[in-house]
């Protein structure tokens, strides 16, 4: 096993779209750049599986005030409007960058056309009857206020990879960085290993950018099952503040066919008569006329009315397959074949679905300012790993995750390059290097211990069930926390890695345990409900106490510190409005049901 020492101006950790954007921009700003990716840059991260990118452009008739009020309504008055505005206003230039890189986009009207085009898509609230668009089989119609472009190429991220290489940045694949190196209060690099050959890597950099995506537990959505949040948790251990970590989300999954999320295609291109029913055969979705299956399904099941069925009879199989094949080219897998293999005939039979917990959201992560700097000097964060609070406790718009990846990546690239220009490289001390080696490699040296497979399953059993992080209650959050603390104290120091692949698993689990603790403690801390964040024991929004962001950091003694920051008054909306008007998106929880 060799030991590699590398030096660069800007180190980017993570090779999804945000990381690629950072690398290209930093390089074009004159910095030497290394992009380290634990998988293969171009085939990794959520970006590879994403389908849409949001675009705002006033020249196309988009109304800024209307967009912001949608964002604010969906985000329930705790969104960071400064970031929301930046993401909207910079969405079009970044979209143009992608087009210049050679990423094709579909035109909505002519499905199959790979020229640059726009999709009239939907965000937001209940809409007038005449709007034709139905999203994701919900009986709700949406107001069409904006545009989303659909990727016209499944291998779009390979185009991004080529752009990174063309810019002169260096990509190192299969390098999993697990720990930041610090000196004099500043981040000066990162350490990790090659997941295939086991070589140790120490990379010294004047600025480090975390682009490792959200923090998940290999749960519901295949697109982020490789994202264990290492970047977020290594930033946390380096003393950086996190924000928005109490918010999470779920994704619908076809039971017995665990990757297929067929609902979007059914709604967009398939059945006219599809419907979702509870165990009693009732169409409960109509009772509550708003967006979030995310929380509606778990609540319905919690009431004892499960399971959830989806009926999509009456679709013509061949026609649907034809449409899906085109649709699949944008991102997704061969779903019809998968359903066949699972023995599910969705054209004839109703099928069961569940809403599975995924993890941290698009806007929760390492707290950053508008230069994408975290609270630790030399450390930047972008994309899903960054805490911008631009969406609050929900998801503001289709394609906004990809959009924020581009916008934050671009900003971080410029600012990290500038920071690198103005800084000198600090050398890591031999003691620090030794200590990191020890942290990284110890699981390999153990001759026995807890195996990653086992511990991963225990974490999933603890955090994925709906009653823990979807329909929440203080007692159950405490119970889950008790188990996670036990995993931290007992399993983690005794985990064994039999080779460099299993070492990767151990370090992913290390991150998941830290992340689970953060997500449980912050959820306990927010004693109210808001958006998709539903506390059974606090079922209403609490404007008096919780127009706030929750911040979390690790102090010098290694203790987790929770605090709040008030949402500025000007972003709190009209406090004189009655509850139902202030929160038109009712979620059917608690007293509202």
């Amino acid at each position: 096993m060799a030991e590699k020492r590398l030096k660069t101006d800007v180190l980017v950790i993570g090779g999804g779209l945000a990381g690629c954007f950072t690398a290209v921009t930093a390089r074009e700003s004159g910095a030497e750049v290394i992009l380290a990716e634990k998988n293969y840059c171009g085939k990794t991260g959520s970006s590879h599986y994403a389908r849409d990118i949001m675009i705002f452009k006033e020249e196309w008739g988009d109304n800024f005030g209307e967009w912001m009020s949608q964002f604010d309504m969906i985000g329930e008055h705790i969104i960071n409007q400064e970031w929301a505005e930046i993401i909207l206003r910079e969405s079009y230039p970044r979209f143009r960058d992608l087009v210049d890189w050679g990423v094709p986009f579909y035109l909505n009207d002519e499905f199959g056309d790979t020229s640059t085009g726009l999709v009239s898509y939907a965000i937001g609230s209940p809409a007038p009857e005449e709007e034709p668009f139905r999203y994701a089989f919900r009986k709700t119609k949406y107001r069409k206020v904006g545009k989303v472009a659909k990727y016209g190429e499944r291998h779009k991220m390979m185009i991004a990879r080529r752009k990174v290489l063309k810019s002169g940045a260096t990509i190192i694949d299969r390098i999993m960085l697990t720990d930041l190196i610090k000196k004099n209060g500043r981040v000066i690099g990162a350490a990790g290993f090659h997941t295939v050959n086991g070589d140790l890597y120490f990379i010294e950099a004047k600025a480090v950018v975390i682009a490792t995506g959200c923090l998940t537990f290999r749960g519901a959505w295949h697109g982020c099952r490789s994202n264990a949040g290492e970047g977020v948790t290594m930033g946390y251990r380096a003393g950086a503040d996190l924000s928005g970590m109490e918010f999470g989300y779920g994704m619908y999954v076809v039971s017995d066919c665990d990757t297929v999320t067929i609902d979007g295609p059914i709604a967009e291109i398939g059945a006219k008569k599809d419907r979702v029913t509870n165990g009693l055969g009732e169409e409960f979705m109509d009772d509550i006329p708003h967006i979030p299956t995310n929380i509606l399904w778990p609540i319905e099941v919690h009431k004892g009315n499960g399971p959830i069925y989806h009926e999509a009879y009456g679709m013509d199989r061949e026609k649907f397959k034809d449409a899906l094949d085109k649709y699949n080219k944008t991102a997704e897998g061969p779903w019809i074949e998968m359903l066949d293999r699972a023995g599910l005939d969705i054209f004839k039979d109703r099928f069961q679905q569940y809403m599975g917990f995924v993890g941290s959201t698009w806007a929760g992560g390492l707290l950053i300012n508008t230069n994408c700097e975290t609270t630790v000097p030399g450390l930047y964060a972008v994309g899903d790993a960054a805490g911008t609070d631009y969406t609050g406790p929900t998801y503001s718009a289709l394609g906004s995750g990809m959009c924020s990846a581009c916008v934050t990546g671009y900003r971080a690239g410029i600012n990290a390059a500038k920071f690198a220009r103005e800084s000198i490289q600090l050398e890591a001390s031999p003691e620090e290097i030794d200590s990191l080696k020890n942290t990284i490699l110890t699981p390999l040296e153990r001759k026995s211990g807890f195996q990653p497979d086992h511990v991963l399953l225990r974490i999933q059993q603890t955090i994925l069930p709906y009653e823990v992080r979807m329909v929440m209650h203080g007692k159950r959050l405490e119970a889950a926390l008790t188990m996670i603390d036990f995993f931290k104290e007992h399993f983690l120091p005794r985990m064994q890695a039999t080779d460099s692949h299993q070492l990767r698993n151990v370090h992913e689990i290390r991150s998941m345990i830290a992340g689970a603790e953060i997500m449980l403690r912050t959820a306990l801390f927010r004693t109210e409900s808001r958006g998709w964040f539903f506390r059974e024991d606090y079922p209403r929004r609490d404007d008096k106490n919780w127009l706030k962001w929750v911040r979390v950091k690790q102090d010098e003694k290694g203790q987790m510190q929770l605090s709040t920051e008030d949402v500025p008054r000007k972003w709190q909306g009209d406090l004189s409005l009655p509850y139902e008007e202030r929160y038109p998106l009712q979620y059917g929880y608690g007293e509202e049901a």
């Binding site: 085939k43 997941t195 295939v196 039971s255 061969p334």
Partner: protein, 72 residues
């Protein structure tokens, strides 16, 4: 369950699936110049490998093993 097989007769040794896997499930057997399934329990059923394989040598089953605990 998960990735079931890489057909040795069809595999042309191009390594595309090795790069395509986001979980390091597939490794390359240099001696025989073939891709091999090394860590099947980490397969996340994303179908990258099957979709990308230029010779159709790979078959992925749509349910993970070990199974993820369902939400309810």
């Amino acid at each position: 369950m998960v990735i079931k097989r890489i057909d040795n007769d069809k595999c042309n040794g191009c390594r595309i699936c090795v790069d395509a896997c986001p979980m390091d499930v597939i490794r390359f057997d240099e001696e025989n110049n073939k891709a091999v399934i090394k860590y099947a329990t980490d397969c996340i059923c994303c179908y990258n490998c099957e979709e990308d394989c230029p010779t159709g040598a790979i078959y992925v089953d749509p349910l993970r093993d070990p199974q993820v605990p369902p939400a309810w």
